[in-house]
């Protein structure tokens, strides 16, 4: 099945992503959700602004998913990343992975978020009470 990849300015829809990886042969679903925190590096965060190199990000996410599917045999994967402005408590990224057994779903989901965070061209600017900054890892 084709993996679902979404890059959007709109709020992410967790249930739609879980539905996209649901299938009668699925026994376990692991979902990771990255959420805007109210603090980072000792600063009080007001909101985040995400910038994305959209065409390349989508290619790169698809290539990470292909690697995860090959390595862990997970058939169903959905990845959504939001860009633009996000408030504290809102989800910036949701990854859903399903498989017949849970071990593969956990490992593939962890791999996808770890690799996405460091290799997909998406950047975040933290806007705090006392200034703003593009976060570099």
């Amino acid at each position: 099945m084709q993996p679902l990849v979404q890059l959007t300015r709109e709020p992410l829809d967790r249930d739609a992503l879980v539905a996209a990886v649901s299938h009668p042969s699925v026994g376990g679903i692991v979902v990771f959700e990255g959420v805007v925190r109210d603090n980072a590096r000792g600063k009080q965060v007001r909101y985040l602004e995400y910038d994305v190199y959209q065409e390349m990000a989508e290619l790169q996410i698809r290539s990470i998913i292909a690697e995860a599917r090959q390595h862990w045999g997970v058939e169903h994967v959905a990845v959504a990343h939001r860009f633009g402005r996000m408030e504290v408590g809102e989800a910036s990224v949701i990854i859903a992975v399903s498989s017949p057994h849970r071990a593969e779903a956990f490992e593939a989901c962890r791999y996808i978020i770890d690799t996405l965070k460091t290799t997909v061209p998406i950047w975040k600017k933290e806007v705090a009470i006392d200034g703003e900054e593009w976060v570099e890892g």
Binding site: D114, T119, V120
Partner: protein, 97 residues
């Protein structure tokens, strides 16, 4: 030849635009365009030192030779965070890809 440059994140804010087209000498490499842009925008220096490079939406090395119509993007570090960051640098990850 014409090379399309697109700017994101801190680079976009420094140069004050999202993209531009640069006239580059035939046979020019990524590193040559990098030098050209630093002349034009000296304030890019510190972030440029930490950038990796993508041509036509694939990661490349600075020695990569450019061709007419290529899309070149300088990619500053992404805000990865977490334990993965501590174990590998972005360049190591990309090299193993």
């Amino acid at each position: 030849m014409n090379i399309r440059i697109r700017y994101f994140a801190s680079l976009r804010e420094i140069v004050g635009q999202s993209e531009e087209v640069l006239l580059v000498q035939e046979g020019g490499r990524v590193a040559d365009v990098c030098a050209l842009l630093l002349e034009r925008y000296p304030r890019l220096q510190s972030v440029m030192d930490r950038c990796i490079y993508a041509v036509n939406r694939r990661y490349v090395t600075p020695e990569t030779v450019l061709h007419d119509g290529d899309e070149l993007v300088f990619i500053p570090p992404m805000g990865g965070g977490g334990p993965f960051k501590a174990r590998f640098s972005v360049k190591e990850i990309l090299c193993n890809h």
